[in-house]
């Protein structure tokens, strides 16, 4: 198993800096996801690890080996790094059969014929593509092409797997199946995996650890649980979670010995906020953490139900409290009429607070 170390990686295209002094250590055997909106520098980072992009500064280690250092004048070319990379477009060679796509790199390694044959067959078996070995890439569906790309990569048995939005070109159903398969693959190979995606759900389900990037900088680096429950900044909070987190701007006030955040039409308990009364903050509360009742409850707040969006397994409710709109999620397919009054309650422990100027998290741990 191999560790990946990035330190001080910087990359600019012309004037535009797309990766800022990135430091990142990926532990042996870890499944790490780089998550961020389109254009934030994920692909650039991944390509730097593979050697397809030369950073302007910084060092890269793969395992014990220094593979790139601007300062020390080291560049190990991609063909000598021994990593496996899956491109967003799969990058299969269109003029070769599936079998040939998988075996070409094995030939280059100077393996014997029998060995090549065995490894290619095994790789195709792993992705259940043995039957289609004689086909050309253009004769395969998107999902099948994806499998061939995986087979081509694992035939070389790399210690490090890099995947650049491998599922983004597949339809929704196939995406879920392939997600599980890629995770299984990572476990079976015992490899160190860096997975790039802009899909927060993928990141949450697959990863041991998530690195959230925005505009070339790391916003947060933590476990999926941590990223979801304790986002370090407003951007991360907004980017993670579906339906989106509720943001309520307001002012801290003390009433009957308890600290509240008073917004426009709502009042949230603010015990966890690390700020003095009178300060302006933004409270963030996940839709599933708002409690709901159809009858009045003491201390809860009356709101009006605006609209109802059942998705099947869950139902999304939008409620109106004064000028503040809130999203709520309930399990199951709720049959409920818009317009009726409801009562909502907050759990003080599940609310996070952010400073609207610095965007940073100001909640007590």
């Amino acid at each position: 198993m191999a560790q990946i170390g990035l330190s001080g990686i910087r990359k600019a295209y012309g004037r535009e800096v797309v990766v800022h002094d990135l430091d990142l250590t990926i532990r042996p055997g870890e499944f790490l996801t780089i998550l961020g909106p389109s254009g934030c520098g994920k692909t650039t980072t991944l390509r730097a690890i593979a050697g397809l992009e030369e950073p302007d500064d910084g060092d890269i280690h793969l395992g014990e080996k220094l593979v790139f250092s601007r300062r020390r004048g080291v560049i190990v070319p991609p063909e000598k790094r021994g990593v496996g990379l899956i491109f967003q477009s799969y990058a299969l060679w269109p003029h070769m059969t599936v079998q040939r796509n998988v075996s070409l790199a094995l030939e280059e390694k100077g393996l014997g014929r029998a060995e090549i044959e065995a490894r290619a067959t095994q790789a195709l078996e792993t992705v259940q593509m043995t039957a289609l070995g004689a086909r050309y890439p253009s004769e395969l569906s998107g999902g099948q092409q994806q499998r061939v790309a995986v087979a081509r990569m694992i035939a070389l048995r790399p210690q490090i797997l890099l995947m650049d939005e491998p599922l983004s070109n597949l339809d929704a159903k196939l995406r879920l199946d392939m997600r599980a398969e890629l995770l299984q693959l990572h476990r079976d190979l015992g490899s160190t995996t860096v997975y790039v995606t802009h899909d927060q759900a993928e990141a949450l389900t697959l990863s041991d650890r998530i690195v959230v990037m925005d505009r070339g900088r790391v916003m947060q680096e933590a476990s999926p649980y941590e990223v979801y429950h304790h986002p370090r900044s407003l951007q991360v909070a907004e980017f993670i979670g579906e339906p989106r987190i509720n943001l309520v701007p307001g002012t801290l006030a003390r009433e009957a010995g308890t600290l509240y955040l008073v917004g426009d039409g709502v009042r949230l308990p603010a015990e966890r906020a690390r700020a003095a009364k009178g300060e302006r903050l933004v409270a963030a509360v996940r839709p599933e953490n708002i409690e709901l009742s159809t009858v009045p409850v003491a201390g809860w707040q009356e709101v009006r139900l605006d609209n109802v969006q059942p998705t099947g397994a869950t139902t999304i409710l939008q409620v109106c409290a004064g000028a503040t709109r809130l999203r709520l999620v309930r399990p199951g397919f709720l049959r409920i009429e818009a317009g009726i009054p409801l009562w909502i309650g907050f759990d003080a422990d599940s609310i996070e607070f952010f400073d609207p100027d610095t965007q940073g998290n100001v909640s007590a741990p």
Binding site: R71, I75, E79, L85, H95
Partner: protein, 604 residues
């Protein structure tokens, strides 16, 4: 100077080169092409401005190599200037103007008829129209001489004189008029290719949008179609004009007998008279004219758009109905195409089959000039074309030259395309693209002249190449580079970078990536580029006429020699042989490459 920072950067960049084969290739190509393209230019500027050994006849006490305006004075401001410079200049410009005007008009009209109307037999006509492209530009001139030769110039008479009994006047037989006509009947094919490509890509929906907006037919043509076609039209005009400035064969065949000189033939005459300095000055003037034309064109059209590439991308086009005119126009185009291809070739065939020149009666027919043994009483004892060692050697040389040039050009086009596309946006990439394109602006004869200047003495490890076969290959490769490198760039742009990157990550080395991935994927473009080079090299005369030596004769040189020696049967027969071989190779390559799965083959 060597601070630790600088040393570190240098080391980094050295290491980096090992990681970037495209940079290495780019730099090597840049240096090599700089040497082959710009080097000669510097060399002839120097030669033109210094005294040369051959000038000592005029300047017995001059020092060879010292600065001197002697050549400039001779060309621009001496009693010789009118004959040496001004008259050829006027002649060249006049010929260039008229041929371009007529050729581009005919070519555009044909393109419009074949692309935008419902004219009949499109496939056949389209295939026939591009045949002139495969023939030497002076085939028409040879046929013209056979047709209109008169007895006043000496030698035998032609078809017209023989059959009608009237001697055509001199202005019909030789000089300005026939030069313009024969060149126009050849060069319209270039304009046709450019314009039909452009017309095919002009979306007729745009025009229909104009119609919806209430524009009339003429307004539509004027406001929508023409502006869209302007880049192609501009390129067609400039391309044709530059080619004509540099063309040698036709003005030599039809002009020299009446001492009608263009720049090209004057350069040839000066070199023959060993006044290389004059020739260099004239060549420089030609280059300046060509560059000004390109510059003016790019000003008018806008630099980005000023050179269109041919594409065959088809839109759904609505064809204009010709109605009653359909059949007559089809017939007219058919006749025209036939007259530019079949008529000259038939005349040459007949000419090659007559025993006594000038006698076109049937009982004068013979196969002597094709398969006859040498006969002292005929044609200075030269054997028939197919048994003639000199000709067969020249044929072998031509094939060797064309094949070598095509191979080198294919490889070079691929490498230049690779380096340019991989380095997109860098100065290296732009510089390389520019320099690969530069030979385009050298009129052929001028490039030949500057190669004499460059390679008549050894340069470092390179021996004096003048008079060798290698210089023919070299200049042919360089002259065709603009087209092959463009093909290479287009082919490389089609291949997504990830095709190669995925191979890199999988550990596949550069040579294997080239052989297994890049080359197969760019094959169809490469083959058509190489085929084009082959054809161009087979029919080339202007470019190499100054560099030919008896030991390295090629077919076109042989034809020119026989024509100069007034041996029309031989020159006709060899010309036919040449055209036949070109067409044969063309068909063969297309069949083979189609068989090999190379599709989309297209002349560009």
């Amino acid at each position: 100077m060597t601070s630790p920072g600088a040393a570190r950067r240098l080391r980094y960049h050295t290491v980096r080169l090992r990681n970037r084969p495209d940079l290495v290739i780019g730099y090597v190509c840049l240096v090599a092409l700089g040497f082959l393209v710009l080097g000669p230019l510097v060399e002839i500027v120097r030669d033109a401005l210094t005294l040369q050994p051959y000038d000592l006849a005029y300047h017995p006490d001059g020092v060879v190599g010292s600065f001197s305006l002697f050549h400039l004075e001779r060309v621009f401001a001496s009693p010789l200037s009118p004959a040496l410079f001004f008259r050829p200049l006027l002649n060249s410009l006049a010929v260039g103007f008229w041929v371009t005007a007529i050729g581009v008009s005919i070519g555009s009209l044909l393109a419009w008829l074949l692309v935008r109307t419902d004219i009949r037999c499109k496939g056949l006509l389209g295939a026939l129209i591009v045949i002139p492209y495969m023939m030497p530009s002076w085939v028409m001139a040879l046929a013209w001489i056979s047709l209109f030769k008169n007895d006043r110039i000496g030698g035998t008479q032609g078809f017209v004189a023989s059959f009608l009994g009237v001697q055509p006047p001199d202005w019909v037989s030789y000089g300005f008029f026939p030069i313009v006509v024969t060149l126009a009947l050849h060069y319209f094919a270039y304009a046709y290719l450019l314009m039909s490509g452009a017309l095919a890509t002009v979306d007729s929906e745009l025009e229909e949008a104009g119609a919806v907006c209430g524009m009339g037919r003429w307004k539509r043509l004027w406001r929508i179609t023409l502006p869209l076609l302007m880049p192609a039209l501009g390129s067609a005009i400039v391309l044709t004009f530059i080619r004509i400035l540099g063309t040698f064969g036709t003005p030599a065949l039809l002009g020299l007998p009446v001492r009608f000189f263009t720049f090209a033939t004057q350069i040839y005459a000066s070199i023959n008279a060993r006044n290389n300095g004059d020739a260099f000055v004239l060549a420089l003037v030609l280059i300046v004219i060509a560059i000004s034309f390109i510059w003016i064109n790019s000003r008018i059209i806008g630099i980005r758009k000023s050179f269109v590439t041919l594409t065959g991308k088809g839109f759904r086009r609505r064809e204009i109905r010709l109605g009653l005119w359909r059949l007559p126009l089809t017939a007219a185009v058919g006749l025209f195409v036939a007259s530019t291809v079949l008529v000259p070739l038939s005349i040459l065939l007949w000419e090659s089959l007559i025993l006594v020149a000038g006698d076109y009666s049937l009982d004068n027919l013979t196969t002597h000039f094709w398969i006859g043994q040498g006969n002292v009483r005929l044609a200075y004892g030269e054997a028939g074309v197919l048994l003639n060692n000199g000709i067969l050697t020249a044929l072998w040389n031509s094939l060797k030259l064309a094949t070598l040039a095509a191979l080198f050009n294919g490889v070079l086009g691929l490498l230049v395309g690779y380096a340019v596309v991989r380095g997109r946006g860098t100065r290296l990439s732009r510089g390389l693209e520019g320099i690969a394109f530069a030979p385009y602006i050298f009129p052929s004869i001028a490039l030949g002249a500057i190669y004499i200047g460059m390679f008549s003495a050894p340069i470092g490890p390179i021996p004096a190449l003048y008079g060798t076969f290698a210089i023919l290959v070299l200049i042919t490769v360089v002259k065709n580079l603009p087209f092959t490198s463009r093909t290479g760039i287009a082919a490389m742009l089609q291949i997504d970078t990830s095709m190669e990157e995925s191979a890199r990550v999988l550990g596949i080395g550069w040579f294997r990536r080239m052989a297994r991935i890049i080359m197969p994927l760019s094959m169809s473009g490469l083959v058509s580029g190489m085929l084009l080079t082959f054809i161009t090299a087979m029919r080339e005369l202007s470019l190499i006429v100054l560099l030919l030596s008896p030991a390295n004769m090629v077919l076109t040189g042989v034809i020119f020699y026989y024509q100069e020696q007034s041996m029309p049967q031989h020159s006709s027969a060899v010309t036919l042989l040449l055209v036949l071989i070109i067409i044969l190779v063309n068909v063969l390559v297309r069949l083979v490459s189609r068989g090999a799965g190379v599709s989309g083959l297209k002349n560009s």
